[in-house]
Symmetry: C2
Subunit: 665 residues, 2 copies
C-alpha cells in the first residue's frame, strides 16, 4: 500500500464558486487548544481550501481581518450533549454546542451544508444526536485480514502489529464527519495475537491509536476474549463467578486503564459460534457481562455484550429448534439483571444480516436493559461490495418498526435512543465495510452505506433518499438530473438485490462459508439452523404458534400479524410460514410464479443499474467509472447465476412451469 494512496471519500471537496477564503474565528467558552476544537478548525480550513481552491487565511479574533467572514464558536450549555446549532448569514456563521464533540459535528454540519450547495443565509440547523452511542465495529484481525472484509486488508493491523499512519487520522476524520463516537478496532472473534491487545505487548500502540481517535471525539473500544484468564492468565477456568477469575480481571483491568485511561470499554462475543463464555460454567450471560462491567465501572468503561447466541451445531432434521428464537430465549429472562454499564448489542434481525428479516423481538422486548442495534454495513450476505446494495432503506425499516413496547414511543429508533425506557445507554453499531483498498470500500458506491450509517445513527429522522443525496453531493459533482439517476440507483438497489437472490424473507441460499453467490441447498442440511424447508409442494419455515412459536416472542399486535399468512407482511411471508407454491399472493400471482418473475426481473434490473451507471461516465472521475463498471459487470454475472439457479431449483422441485415460458434449466 502506497502510504498516501487512498481517496478522501465524502470529504473530497469540490470547487464551489462564491465561497470566501478569508475567515476570522471567534471562540467563546471553548479552549482553542482543545484537541477536538483544533481538529474542528483544521477541518474547517481543509474544507474551505477544497471548496475555494485557494489558500485559506484563518485569523484569530484578536487580529481581526475586516474583510473576513467570522466563524463564532460558542459554548451554550442549553444545547444537548454532542448536539449543535449552526446558523449563518452573509457575514459568517455561528456554531453553538455544549461540548467539543457537538462543536466538531457542528463544523462538519456547516461544511456539509455548504458542500451540498447551501449558501450563507440558507444554513440553519439544530441537531442533537438521536443515539448516545454511534459505533463502528471492525472485524479486523491482527494478521491484517478482515473477517467478511471486501475492501482489502486492515488499515489497523498488519502482521500482528498495529499500524499508525496518516490513513489512521483520515479514518478518524471520516468517522467524526458522520457523527461516529465509538470504534471497536478488532474482530469480535478474538483469537491469537488479538487476545494480547490487553497486554503490554500492545499498550503503547493502542494508546497512540486512541489518542488519534480522541482528537476527533471518538472513543476506542476493544473486542475482548472472555477466556483471557485462561489464555493470558494461565488459570484453569474463566468462570465469571470464580474469585480467582474476578481477581485476575481486576488486576488486568487496572493495568489496562492505567495505560489507556480513555478506553471506552469492551465488546464481547461470548458463547457464540465457538467463542468461550459463561454458559460453559452454568452461568448466565448476565453473570458474565456484569462481572466485567463491575470491574471497569470505576474507570467509566462499558461492556457491550452481543446477543448473537444460538446453537450453531443444530441438527437439520430437528424442526423444533429455531435459531430465530435463540436471542430472545437466552436474553429475555435476565431482563433487568444487567448492570447499568452493560449494553446488549442486538442484530437487527434474529438470524444474521440477511437481505430481509423480521426485526429482532429482543429490541423493545427487553424493557429494563440497555440495548443497542447492530447492523452490518459490510455486505456479507448482500453482495460483498461487488453488487450495489444501498442498505439505508433496510436500516430505516428496522428503526421505524413498531414494537408495541410502549404506546406512542415504541419504534426501534425510540427504544435504542433510550427515549422509550430511559435507559442509561443506547445507540447503534455497525460492522463496517472498510479496508485498505484505494477507495476504502471496494465498490466506490458502497461508501454510501458507510456514510449513511453514520448520518442515520446521528439523526434517525433522515430519510434514505436525503442521505443518498447528501452523500452524492459530497462525493461527486453531478448535474442535478444525474444526481437523480444515481440517487434512484441507490434507492432501487436493495430491492433489486433481493429480487434476484432469496425472496420473501427466507434468506440464505448462499454459497456456504463465502456467502456470495447462490447455493439453494447450501445451508439446508447443515448445522447452522438456516433452513428453507423446500419440498415439492412448498417452502418456508413455520414460525407461528403451530410451528416453532417464534412469532409469539413479539408483542401481541405483531405476534398476531405475523402468525397469520393473510396479515403477515408479504415480504416476510416465508420467514414465518411454510407456503405452497400454488398459494396466491396479494397480486394474484402464485408463489412459484412470483419466484420466477422476481428473479427474471431482478436480473434485468441489475442490467439496468449497470446501464444507468454507463450514462454517468462523463460526470464521474474516470478511475471511479472504471472501478464501479467492473463491479457492475460482476453483479450481472452474479444476478444471472442467482436467477438461473433459483429458478431451476424450484422448477425442478415443483414441476410447475413458468407461465411466460422463459428459459429455466
Amino acid at each position: 500500500m502506497d502510504a498516501n494512496n487512498w481517496t478522501q471519500l465524502w470529504l473530497t471537496y469540490q470547487r464551489i464558486e462564491d465561497i470566501k477564503g478569508d475567515w476570522n474565528i471567534s471562540y467563546s467558552g471553548f479552549d482553542m487548544e482543545h484537541r477536538i476544537v483544533e481538529s474542528g478548525v483544521y477541518e474547517f480550513r481543509n474544507a474551505l481550501e477544497g471548496l475555494t481552491g485557494e489558500n485559506v487565511i484563518i485569523s484569530q479574533d484578536e487580529e481581526k481581518n475586516q474583510n473576513a467572514s467570522t466563524l463564532f464558536l460558542v459554548r451554550d450549555e442549553g444545547i444537548p450533549a454532542q448536539g449543535y446549532f449552526v446558523d449563518s448569514d452573509e457575514k459568517g456563521a455561528t456554531i453553538k454546542a455544549s461540548d467539543e464533540n457537538g462543536l466538531l459535528y457542528g463544523i462538519f454540519a456547516l461544511i456539509r451544508n455548504v458542500a451540498c450547495g447551501k449558501r450563507p443565509g440558507e444554513i440553519r440547523e439544530e441537531k442533537s444526536p438521536s443515539n448516545p452511542l454511534r459505533m463502528m465495529n471492525h472485524w479486523d484481525n491482527m494478521d491484517g485480514s478482515i473477517e467478511r472484509g471486501y475492501s482489502g486488508n486492515s488499515f489497523f493491523f498488519e502482521r500482528n502489529n498495529i499500524i499508525i499512519s496518516r490513513r489512521t487520522r483520515d479514518y478518524a476524520r471520516f468517522m467524526a464527519s458522520i457523527g461516529i463516537n465509538g470504534v471497536v478496532i478488532n474482530n469480535v472473534n478474538v483469537k491469537d495475537a488479538a487476545s494480547y491487545l490487553i497486554t503490554d505487548r500492545y499498550f503503547d500502540k493502542v494508546k497512540a491509536l486512541s489518542e488519534i481517535f480522541a482528537d476527533f471525539g471518538i472513543k476506542l473500544y476493544l473486542s475482548l476474549n472472555f477466556a483471557s484468564p485462561i489464555e493470558l492468565g494461565g488459570l484453569p477456568v474463566c468462570d465469571p463467578m470464580s474469585k480467582e477469575v474476578i481477581d485476575w480481571w481486576k488486576d488486568k483491568m487496572k493495568e489496562v486503564y492505567d495505560q489507556i485511561p480513555d478506553l471506552g470499554g469492551f465488546l464481547v462475543k461470548a458463547d457464540s459460534e465457538g467463542r468461550p463464555g459463561p454458559f460453559t460454567y452454568g452461568r448466565t450471560q448476565a453473570d458474565g457481562a456484569n462481572m466485567l462491567a463491575d470491574i471497569i465501572a470505576p474507570y467509566g468503561g462499558i461492556i457491550i455484550w452481543r446477543c448473537f447466541v444460538y446453537n450453531c451445531t443444530q441438527d437439520w432434521r430437528d424442526r423444533k429448534t429455531d435459531r430465530a428464537r435463540a436471542g430472545y430465549d437466552y436474553f429475555k429472562e435476565q431482563d433487568g439483571d444487567y448492570h447499568d454499564n452493560v449494553i446488549l448489542q442486538i442484530k437487527n434481525g434474529p438470524m444474521d444480516f440477511q437481505i430481509r428479516e423480521a426485526v429482532s423481538p429482543l429490541l423493545g422486548g427487553l424493557t429494563r436493559t440497555n440495548q443497542m442495534l447492530e447492523v452490518q454495513i459490510a455486505q456479507e450476505y448482500t453482495g460483498h461490495q461487488i453488487d450495489l446494495c444501498y442498505l439505508i432503506p433496510l436500516y430505516k425499516e428496522v428503526l421505524d418498526f413498531h414494537t408495541y413496547c410502549k404506546e406512542g414511543c415504541d419504534t426501534v429508533a425510540d427504544v435504542v435512543s433510550t427515549r422509550t425506557f430511559g435507559n442509561r445507554l443506547g445507540g447503534m453499531a455497525a460492522v463496517i465495510n472498510t479496508g485498505n483498498d484505494y477507495n476504502w470500500t471496494g465498490n466506490d458506491l458502497a461508501a454510501a452505506n458507510t456514510y449513511g450509517f453514520g448520518r442515520l445513527s446521528f439523526d434517525t429522522s433522515l430519510s434514505a433518499e436525503q442521505i443518498a443525496r447528501e452523500w452524492i453531493k459530497m462525493t461527486y459533482q453531478l448535474p442535478s438530473d444525474k444526481e437523480d439517476v444515481l440517487t434512484d440507483m441507490l434507492l432501487r438497489s436493495r430491492e433489486i438485490y433481493e429480487k434476484y437472490t432469496s425472496f420473501l424473507g427466507i434468506g440464505w441460499m448462499v454459497t456456504p462459508g463465502d456467502h456470495y453467490g447462490p447455493s439453494v441447498d447450501g445451508y439446508e442440511y447443515s448445522r447452522w439452523g438456516t433452513y428453507h424447508r423446500a419440498d415439492h409442494l412448498g417452502i418456508g419455515v413455520d414460525r407461528t404458534d403451530r410451528g416453532t412459536g417464534y412469532a409469539q416472542q413479539y408483542y401481541r399486535q405483531n405476534a398476531e400479524m405475523y402468525n397469520d399468512p393473510e396479515t403477515c407482511p408479504e415480504e416476510l411471508l416465508l420467514f414465518f410460514h411454510h407456503i405452497p407454491y400454488t398459494y396466491k399472493l396479494k397480486s394474484g400471482k402464485t408463489l412459484i410464479q412470483y419466484i420466477y418473475d422476481s428473479h427474471f426481473e431482478g436480473e434485468k434490473e441489475a442490467e439496468e443499474l449497470s446501464a444507468d451507471w454507463k450514462g454517468l461516465e462523463p460526470y464521474v472521475p474516470d478511475s471511479v467509472f472504471e472501478r464501479v463498471s467492473e463491479r457492475f459487470d460482476r453483479q450481472i454475472t452474479n444476478a444471472r447465476e442467482w436467477r438461473d439457479q433459483v429458478n431451476s431449483y424450484f422448477f425442478r422441485k415443483s414441476g410447475i412451469p413458468d407461465e411466460k415460458g422463459r428459459e429455466i434449466y
Copy 2:
C-alpha cells in the same frame, strides 16, 4: 514425527513355530553383491527373524552349515522378465529368475507363502508380472501436504526439502514386496518448489532417493510442469513446436539425466484443471507428449501422459457438453500418433474415481497407443480412509471388463498388459493412500488397498478375496473364523459405501472441494461437469444416442448395451439414462424405493461392519483396535448423514413417500 515411529504394515512378521533359522544361501548366476540381490537376502533374513523370533544365521555356500536349509538363487534366462519360480522342500527352497527384480519378487513370494501359513514342500509358485509397469503415483506437495491425502503429511517432502530417512527405505521395501517397479514421488499438479525438482536445487536428493528405490528394483519418476520453459527457463512460451522450447528441454533433459541417469521418466498432467499444456498453442496432446518423449528417448526415459483432459469451466445449463466424453474426444483422434516411449495414463472411469463409473472407453478404444490404467487407492470420493472401502473389487471389475476391442483378448487387463495390441509399454498406476501417519494409511484397514493394488497389478488373475486373505494373514494373526469375518468385512465394504452414498452410477453428491460427506446439489450448479439432473420426476444423465452420445464411444456391443435402459447394467443405470422415480427396476422395486431402501440398508450395514470389528477386539493389537474403532464411529456418523440427506432430498423433490414409512426428514 518420531524418526522410528511407524508400523511395518504387511511385513509385520508374526511368530510361526517350526520354521528354522539356519540357512545357507547358494548363488548361481546372480552377483551376491548386486544391490537388489543384497536387498533380497536382507529381506529373507529379516523375515526369518520375525517368523522364528530368533537370531538367524545365514551362511554363504562355501562355508556350508550341515544342519542348515539351503536357499538356491538361480538365474534362469527362460523365466520372463521380472518373473520368478519358487520351489521348496524340507531341505530348503529354490528361486529362479532371469533378472534381479524377479529374484527379489521370488524371495518376497517365498516369504509371503510362509507368512500365509504354507510350509516347505507346499510352496511352489511360478509367476511373471501381468503388467510391465506397476506404478504408484504420489500426490505429495513439496510443502509436505498431500493432495487428497488422508494419512498425515508427506514422507518424501517437508518444507520444500526432500526427506531421506529410514522410513524411505521401509517404503521402498513395502513397494517391492508387492511388485511395484515405478514410483512418481510428486503431485501431478506441479507448482512452486516442485517445478524445481528438475534443477540442481534438488538433483542430489532426488538421486539419493532414486538410489534407495534402485536397491529394490524401483524406478523413480517425476511429475513434470509443462510450463517449465517459461517458469524455469524464462522463455515467453512453452509451445511444444517452438525450436527455442525444444532446445530448452534438450538442455534441461541432458542436465537431468547426467545427474540422475536411472530416472524412469516423467508423468505429465497437461491442459487439465488449470494446468498448462499444448492446447494453449493450438497443438495436440500428441505434439506435447512426443516432443518430450523424443528428447528423453536416448536416455531410456518414458513420458506418461495423463488423459484427464476436460472442460472444467462448463456451464451447468449446457446439457450437450458431457465431461464423460472428453477423454475419448481429445485422445482417440491421435491414436497411433504417440511415439513408442509415450504411454497414456487413463483413469478407470470417464469421470473421476467415483464409487462406481462406467469403464473409460479409451481403454481398448485406443488400439495403436501405449496405455496404462490409473486407479485411486487414496479414498478421495470413497470415504477418506475413514470409511472402510476395500477397492480391489472395483479394480477387478475394471480389469475384467470386456471392451470388445479384439476377439478373445479384449478385457482391460488384456489391453493394459500389452497382450492385446502388442504395445511396447503398458501397465497400471495408482494414486497411493499413504502419508506419514504412524500406520501409513490413516485407517489401518486401508492398507489392504495399498497391498492389494500392488499384488493385483503384478497378477491380475488374483481374486479380491485371495488378496484380502493374503493381506490379513500377513498383517495380523487371526484364528481362521476371525479371518473369515475380516475378509467378509473387506469384501462387503465397497457395496456398503455405495449403498449409503450415491447410487446406480450417478456419482458425486459430495461436499464440494473436500469430497467427504453428502451434498446432493453440491456440484449440481457448478462448473465441473458433474451433474445428476434430478427434477421432481426423475434423475440421471442421458448419455445415449438421444442424449450426449457418450455411450457411442464404446465398441458396438457395449454401446448397444448401455444405450438401452433395459440392457444397461442396473448399477450404471443413472450414469447412462435419465430415469423416472417410478421406473421399475429388475427387482420390481421403483427407483425411488430403491433409493430409500439402499440408503437405509447401507447405514445399517455400516453399523454391522462396526459391530463385526468389535468382535475382533481380542485378536488384533489394542492400538489397531482403537484406531480402527474410532474410524468406524465416524463412518457410522457419515453413513447416517448420507442416508438422511439423500432420502430427504429425494423425498422432498419427488413427493413419493417411503413404502415402509421410515423416518425421512
